[in-house]
């Protein structure tokens, strides 16, 4: 495992590691990947369908009805977001 893979992980996950964290991660990664690879030592897995939900049942859908409304000031967000006239302030998503 090298610095390259850590940079690749950082790009994939949009997250950065500090220098100390990188050193720790390099030491751990080989062993973690080794553990992951255990799954490839199990024979005959291809004959099993992947299991996404343990009860193997379709998820239920609800009617698209309003149960509890939200006021126009979006006050439900007031404790956690920056609100400007009822709108949530966010960084730019479109840049030149």
């Amino acid at each position: 495992m090298s610095k390259d893979i850590i940079e690749y992980l950082e790009r994939l996950a949009l997250i950065s590691f500090t220098r100390e964290e990188r050193e720790k991660l390099i030491k751990e990664l080989n062993k973690i990947i080794e553990m992951f690879n255990l799954i490839n030592s199990v024979e005959g897995l291809d004959k099993w369908e992947p299991l996404y939900h343990v009860h193997d049942i379709p998820l239920t859908l609800r009617e698209d009805d309003v149960v509890e409304g939200i006021d126009s000031e979006r006050s439900i967000l007031k404790d956690n977001a920056i609100l400007v006239e009822g709108y949530v302030k966010a960084p730019k998503t479109v840049t030149e």
Partner: protein
């Protein structure tokens, strides 16, 4: 009456006759907290006594004016800090949610409140439940009340420690790969991970959605069953919750207990073999107690170590997706938005907001789901998951329960396990199977080695919580290990 150590079912009797006693009980409990919390550090947020008192006074008025009894009237409950509580800070033990105030209650919280329970505070945990010792908490480590130099386990370590230290009567935890059972075993309490879908996850902050389940924690089996009664049940707000008729778990447990059926119990050989000697020996002793009445046979557990790999692959992949929502916009850590684009801000929020273990799991989750690795790891793990479930279905055709030590080790010294993450991951070997297959599993206190608690795990068929509770009650009766509180 000793309010601190009293089982919930006795407190409920007392409060039913005399509702005003709740005030005495809570004030004794807060005295206890004042005495021990500095040493144990179980709570991230403890509600001020006066707030609780105001709530209780109006609750007592309601109780007196209505004929309806409430199933948890006046009982102080500690809640793991990944379960949303309206108006009460919910941090997931993370900087990214340090100031997060949920605008709604989780379904389990709404149910507790409507039955008259008092939520006294939010307990410490591993950050986003990612850890097995409560040491990845961004705020502080919780200490094991039985030995303050050791970890109470995790990730629901705060809830377990609060019970073992006598700071709450019952508690809720969540269990993704053992996070209720592990700290239950390490603190000599009872903890149940219910069948996947039995308890609503609405309002539980997700780690790995296909594995997460909320469950009860208590100091005896009766209390565990009574708490399960309140929190279990179908919820249209959780599309994975199951709509089936449920028993009254407490009554059904007692019905079984009085009938005393002889069960067929499987002893999971490998899960004993992987355990340290003191744990193994203590566990075999309790197995002897079980097998003096029930019919037991040793079986081989297929793919125990591979289950750990499948568990970490699936949970990290799901964590990577679930934690993508922390953008610092609608909630979470706020950084400067001015003249900066989304990616820049998003990256800074995640980098500053998450601790090392969480960042690692998110990064590995992205890796597992990336082109070329998705079919090599994630898809394989899902195929493995189906095979494992079928293997266990076969075992459950023949046996009513599978027993093993809950944890293969004794409570570790603080700092010991977290320094070796691979060892920490493999310490989940006995508990992850129940999450992968969705089956219920319970941890029962069975004894102490040099003053350190050991727990036995009992795994049963889907929706067969009553059998797990019956075995728990059976062992509790024989071993007399109930209502234990550490001196601290």
């Amino acid at each position: 009456m000793n309010f601190i150590a009293a089982p919930m079912y006795k407190l409920l009797d007392e409060f039913n006759t005399n509702p005003d006693l709740v005030v005495d009980y809570l004030s004794k409990l807060y005295d206890r907290i004042a005495k021990v919390e500095e040493k144990v550090k179980a709570f991230i947020t403890l509600r001020p006594f006066n707030d609780v008192l105001n709530e209780v006074e109006s609750l007592i008025r309601i109780r007196k004016s209505s004929r309806n009894s409430m199933a948890l009237f006046g009982i102080a409950v500690a809640i793991k800090d990944n379960i949303s509580t309206k108006g009460l800070r919910t941090t997931c033990a993370s900087r990214i949610l340090e100031n997060y105030i949920p605008p709604y209650d989780a379904t389990v919280i709404a149910k507790l409140k409507s039955e008259g329970a008092i939520i006294i505070g939010k307990t410490n945990m591993d950050e986003f439940a990612m850890g097995s010792t409560t040491e990845t908490s961004a705020f502080f480590a919780t200490r094991n009340p039985w030995d303050l130099t050791r970890s109470p386990g995790g990730s629901s370590g705060g809830s377990a420690a609060a019970l073992a230290a006598g700071e709450a009567t019952v508690a809720l935890g969540s269990d993704t790969g053992g996070s209720i059972r592990n700290p239950a075993a390490f603190t000599a309490i009872f903890g149940l991970k219910p069948t996947y879908g039995l308890v609503s996850r609405y309002g539980l902050i997700a780690y790995a959605s296909s594995l997460d389940q909320i469950g009860p924690m208590a100091r005896n089996t009766d209390d565990l069953a009574l708490l399960l009664n309140v929190i279990a049940g179908y919820d249209p707000k959780d599309s994975t919750s199951i709509n089936i008729p449920l028993p009254n778990f407490y009554k059904a447990m007692y019905d079984t207990y009085y009938r005393e059926p002889r069960l067929k119990i499987a002893i999971a050989r490998e899960l004993f073999e992987y355990s340290e000697d003191p744990v193994k020996n203590m566990s075999y002793k309790s197995v002897d107690v079980l097998c003096s009445y029930h019919e037991c046979r040793e079986i081989s557990i297929p793919y125990a170590k591979h289950s750990v790999a499948a568990y970490y692959i699936i949970s990290m992949a799901e964590a990577g997706s679930n934690l993508a929502r922390y953008d610092g916009v609608r909630y979470g850590l706020k950084v400067n938005f001015d003249n900066r684009n989304w990616v820049e801000v998003y990256k800074e929020v995640r980098t500053r907001g998450f601790g090392y273990e969480v960042k690692k799991r998110i990064a590995l989750g992205a890796y597992i789901l990336s082109t070329g690795y998705w079919d090599m790891y994630y898809l394989k793990a899902l195929r493995f998951r189906r095979m494992l479930k079928e293997e266990f279905n076969k075992i459950f055709k023949e046996f009513d329960a599978i027993v093993s030590p809950t944890m293969p080790i004794l409570p570790p010294k603080l700092g010991e396990l977290i320094a070796d993450p691979i060892k920490m991951y493999y310490s989940d070997v006995n508990t992850v199977i129940a999450n992968l297959i969705g089956a219920p599993a319970i941890s029962i206190p069975i004894g102490f080695v040099n003053g350190l608690p050991v727990g036995l795990q009992v795994m049963v068929r889907h929706f067969n919580e009553v059998t797990a509770l019956y075995i728990s009650k059976f062992l509790e009766d024989k071993l007399k290990l109930r209502d234990l509180i550490a001196l601290v």
